[in-house]
Amino acid sequence: MPRKDITSGNWAVAEAMRQINPDVVAAYPITPSTDIPMRFSEFVADGLVDTNLVTVESEHSAISACLAASVSGARVMTASSANGVALMHEIFPIAASYRTPIVFGLVNRCLGAPINIHCDHGDSMAERDSGWIHIYCEDGQEVYDTMIMAVRIAEHKDVLLPAFVCQDGFITSHCFEPVEFLDDEQVTKFIGEREPLLSLLDVDNPVAYGSLALTDYFFEIKRQQVEAMKHVEKVYNDVAADFAKITGRNYPLVDKYKTEDADYIMVIMSSAAGAAKETVDKLREQGHKVGCLRIRLFRPFPASEIVGALKGAKGIAVCDRAASLGAAAPLFTEIKGALYDAGIHIPANTYVYGLGGRDFFPHNAEEAFMDLINNKMSPEERYLGLRE
């Protein structure tokens, strides 16, 4: 029987990892994701998992050991944040190119300076072109569920790509809230066994990973990764449908909250969608037709789903928890590109909010909605919750 417990986002990841029982976890602690390897190491110490836990000396070695264990045929998981993610950066595109289905609990935290341990999406947004799947979660339940689904998505033979499961540092990772857990057996059955295609440890059929491919082959190999990414949406939808069958919980590519008849839509990611949805309810009571579109899958970017949700709107407000200094913020850029490709011109405002963990309150969301309602449209980047 599924059980419900009060838990944090980090512990939800660790609990999913206990149930997934990966062959290898190589991890290095960093705030705010430290609780994940700490909690998981207790499971190892108590003999609750079979995992070989490699307590490496840096994040760079963590992801390097994960990559090597994954090409060796093991099911592999890890977790990190911010500077740890940045230190791993060199290895991310290599892991994607070697088609290693590593599942990664990424707890979003800003990249300094100034040094700051709190949430924004600058760390994972810096990895958006690394060839990994990116899924952003709103709360602890979603984090737990997504960790389990991500194993199936990443390991699917049409995909074979590593996946980030992102949650907001402290806001989600340290917030204790009710989470419903599956039975261990249900998880085991849902994820199945990993069946590696070309294992480095198959000594009778030796393979080489990491060849030098110059001007003559590099491009073709990258093209294959593009193709793998194209398969993600279908596999994601299939896995999410299977997951819904056993849990009743649905996780579409994008979360459409009262967008169907909405004139004005806020586009946002992760935990801040909570404040956005609350504001939608409040403004709807006042007679405004507003909605919230939360982007769950960010890589690959589900452009047609998003266009489908936005196309009837009179105006949109795209809220980024990351800035792209000197250019438009990352989510805003993607949304504009998707609408342009669809031949749709909807007036769009761009807001950056929540950098370095600055709170995003319902009144911040309301400010952005009121700009739309009052037709205060501008291509200029605006800031929510900033003192200027």
Partner: protein, 314 residues
């Protein structure tokens, strides 16, 4: 059981023909000798470097055994991950065979950028052997200095100029650093006597736990050396005591080679174009004197650690 060279001649090689390394390069000699006497299946990982790029030019590769390369500074972490997967999968019965794990790195990938990953892997006690093919510089990228480059060498980032006579600093003693990790097996050798390398690496690989072997191997191109001099220059490195040959087994230091005669450092320096600027003028003379002094001091250190004395023949 003693290894006999004639028994090894017909053995299948882990690294095969078709690689693109320079004629006379020490790296393939290191690999061939190191892996010749290993009986269990092996899996290789390598840091970025000449060995890696020259043996795996897609769609070809020279390895008859599984091979992984991912980046420059992480061979220690890669071998940790492979071994961790092996231990986990073997426990689950998904792998039946006994497999050995060998990491290769040049001195760039080992002494410098990869030292942290290697140190971590050694401290954690994974069962692997790390072999540094030490050609004393970043040769893959054109002879830049490394922390293994000897005093006075002309390198592309510490060039011999009008004021500065090549590299000023002495190399770090990586073999002793690895011995200080108190891992079960550490050795330092070079490639003028095949049995010397074959036996040491066999011991390293058969020893459970981490093992490290530092093998001096010339880059004939950037040592500015005749390709036919590969073996001879390594013999001179040992005879001049520039490169002491020893092993550290469970903390016990054992000297493997004691030159019979005193051979001055110049004998090692003279055949190599990278030291040519030292062989003329007062500055060069002073550098060579310093080079000799460092050799003598390091040799005394190794003798002391090994509990040995040395009385060269007149």
């Amino acid at each position: 059981m003693a290894v006999k060279l004639k028994d090894l001649i017909t053995k299948e090689r882990a690294m095969r023909q078709g690689h693109r390394m320079c004629p006379g390069c020490g790296a393939p000699t290191v690999v061939q000798q190191a892996l010749l006497a290993v009986d269990d299946p092996i899996v290789i990982t390598s840091a970025t470097g000449c060995l890696e790029v020259s043996t795996t030019i897609y769609p070809y590769n020279s390895w008859g055994v599984p091979f992984l390369h991912s980046a420059f500074e992480n061979a220690g972490a890669n071998v940790s991950g492979i071994e961790a997967a092996y231990v986990a999968l073997k426990k689950k019965g998904k792998i039946k065979k006994n497999i050995k794990f060998v990491a290769f790195g040049g001195d760039g990938g080992t002494y410098d950028i990869g030292l942290q990953a290697l140190s971590g892997a050694a401290e954690r006690g994974h069962d692997f052997t790390y072999i540094c093919y030490n050609n004393q510089g970043y040769m893959n990228t054109g002879a830049q200095r490394s922390s293994a480059t000897p005093i006075g060498a002309n390198t592309s980032t510490a060039p011999a100029g009008k004021v500065i006579p090549g590299k000023i600093q002495k190399p770090k003693d990586l073999t002793a650093i690895m011995a200080a990790h108190h891992i079960p097996y550490v050795a330092q050798t070079t490639i003028f006597n095949p049995m010397e390398v074959i036996e040491k690496v066999k011991r390293a690989i058969e020893t459970p736990g981490p093992a490290f072997v530092n093998i001096l191997a010339p880059c004939v191109l950037f040592w500015r050396l005749e390709p036919s001099m590969q073996k001879e220059i390594c013999r001179l490195a040992a005879e001049t005591r520039f490169w002491p040959i020893y092993e550290v087994i469970n903390g016990e230091w054992k000297l493997s080679y004691k030159p019979k005669k005193y051979v001055p450092a110049e004998e090692f320096l003279k055949p190599q174009g990278r030291f040519r600027h030292l062989l003329k003028g007062e500055t060069g003379k002073a550098v060579i004197e310093n080079f000799q002094k460092e050799i003598d001091e390091e040799w005394q250190y190794v003798l002391k650690r090994c509990g040995e004395t040395w009385e060269p023949q007149a």
